[in-house]
Symmetry: C2
Subunit: 359 residues, 2 copies
């Protein structure tokens, strides 16, 4: 079984990601040096709390830590200022101070909101992440992007803020719904498409084992994904350049999520359909072949992911993509594929090509 | 006339403070290297907008910058999530991107909110400060503390985030109400009391000139204050140690502001009465003499500042001070005076002493 610790290298903000099959039962040991006081706030949701909250509390109690709980409703539609304020209020009522540590126990929504609460409560307190979905293990656990949605745009409010540690436990896959597993695989496949053809080939060879929840293979996929993301983030912590590549599939994907109404499509599902659109756009511009597009579609389909985008119409797509954070001077910036396993950033996509691809 | 540029030394986050008498008329020149795109959002309030907004716009237009305005109501009671969201919404509706620059034109409330909006909009955009009160020129213009109030505590939500430049124009004192001038002098006097007896003596010798708005003297006081604050902030950007000294008078002062209802006492007024309380506590503990206390009271009184605290009662003060960000493990931490011009941090103040001082 895979049991390893990666380090995300960010100078004094470096932190470990512990990957293994018993992380939740070893929290007291893994996190013993993280807590600066005897007070922690565990933020989780109504789905995850019955599954793992007691185990986490038991571990923290071993460290004599007083645990304050915040249990939010489950879903992207609750990643708002209103629910963020619920975290702040619980912390203030409990007189949490700057040495209090926040613990994010849940998927990406919980991780992003908890991280943002940590970034902004009293101008910054420590936090750790215990991601309970594949998506959050390979995505939000690396890179320090925290934030909430705004009624006018997804993830528009946020901060770059690194956790003190991440514990990725493969046992959480025992309780992960099929749809969430697939959504996570979309981001895993993304790391192959961005800049790692060897990983894409490994995924093509192992997609069935991953879909049947082979923990050994899942652990390898998580470690490989985190390592790839950590390498890119270390190069460009605040996304002034190469880090934007991590948004492959996200320009279209965010538009799909927002256009369908947050929570209707999972983030990973939007990214999957978005990567197909990115591949088709790349082919239309002559960068990759139709065979390459078919290969992208094939692995996503094997992961049970949507490969057809919803027909929202060109105008609506353009409107939704116009608020993307990557944009500059009103131009939409796309991540496309120069070849399979080699992505690049461009604002140079004719509307006619988009119309053709989106029709 | 004083015309100088100080640099706040914070490695790659270093920035200049331009102090002079024509800053507003020289913005195009002073800020020409700051803007990363042709879009800026000027955040100001209903009091300041009629006085200076046109001048600022005219200067930015010289740089061919499109100016988007956000005019908020004037007052500490509007430093809330609701009005912060108004800034976000205007930015999103106008499709502001990561290269948009925010300009804070106003006092501390505008500076703190605008800085926090800059820290969190799309995980961080640039901002500059044009402080239009003495208080904001000597306080929020240095140190990167940004944030908003929460119903359960002042400045509880925020971030450390540095501006790209500050322009402190002495001509804004032509329009500053007497009460605001005095409130600013409270923070100026604070820098003498923290660790600079020479500055305190200079202030005692020049308080009448400052009160009669001698711009030469005001410029010197602003430069001296900013220099002192910059030195302390450079040592400890995120307030893990010595920076807490800048909170002299603030533990009591914040309690007064909150206890009276935000907006009833000005921040500087609370700090003035709070410094008197800190001096009296220091005397009660045997650190300074009654003559020293009288000297603190004397200069504050000459600046027309309140030297008597409101009688909220010990219990209420303790309750209000218990949410202070400096506190650790439930203990209230005070900034006291070891001697006049030499402050220190302590959590070691018996309740009986507080009762005596606050009665």
């Amino acid at each position: 079984m895979i049991e390893c610790t990666l380090t995300v290298e960010l100078a004094e903000r470096s932190y470990p990601i512990h990957i293994g099959t018993n992380g939740l039962d070893q929290l007291a040991n893994l996190l013993k040096d993280v807590f600066k006081s005897k007070q922690a706030v565990v933020v989780t949701n109504e789905t995850v709390a019955p599954l793992y909250l007691d185990a986490v509390k038991q571990q923290l109690h071993q460290l004599s830590i007083q645990v304050i709980e915040v249990v939010l409703p489950d879903g992207e539609q609750y990643k708002t200022g209103q629910y963020l304020d619920q975290i702040y209020s619980v912390m203030l009522v409990n007189k949490c101070d700057r040495k209090t540590t926040l613990v994010a126990l849940g998927g990406g929504v919980i991780g992003d909101m908890t991280g943002y609460a940590a970034a902004t409560y009293m101008r910054g307190v420590s936090f750790v992440q215990i991601p309970t979905t594949l998506l959050s293990q390979v995505d939000s656990s690396v890179g320090g992007k925290t934030g909430i949605n705004h009624p006018l745009g997804k993830n528009m409010i946020g901060a770059f803020y690194q956790p003190k540690a991440v514990v990725a436990d493969m046992n959480v896959f025992d309780t992960l719904p099929d749809r969430e597993l697939s959504a996570g695989l979309a981001e895993v496949i993304k790391y192959g498409l961005i800049d790692d053809i060897a990983f894409l080939e490994w995924l093509e060879a192992n997609i069935d084992a991953l879909m049947s929840r082979d923990k050994e293979k899942l652990g390898e996929a998580v470690a490989w994904s985190c390592r790839n993301k950590a390498r890119i983030v270390a190069e460009d912590e605040t996304e002034s350049g190469v880090r934007a590549l991590l948004n492959l599939g996200h320009t279209f994907g965010h538009a799909i999520e927002a256009g369908m109404g947050y929570g209707v499509w999972l983030h990973g599902e939007g990214v999957a359909a978005g990567m197909v659109l990115a591949a088709k756009t790349s082919a239309a511009l002559g960068y990759i072949s139709e065979a390459d597009v078919a290969r992208v579609i094939s692995i996503l389909a094997k992961a049970n992911l949507p490969v057809e985008h919803p027909k929202l119409g060109l105008e609506r797509y353009l409107e939704l993509m116009s608020v993307d954070k990557k944009n500059e001077a009103g131009k939409i910036r796309f991540i496309l594929m120069k070849s399979l396993g080699q992505s690049f950033i461009t604002a140079d996509v004719p509307v006619a090509v988009l119309e053709q691809v989106l029709s």
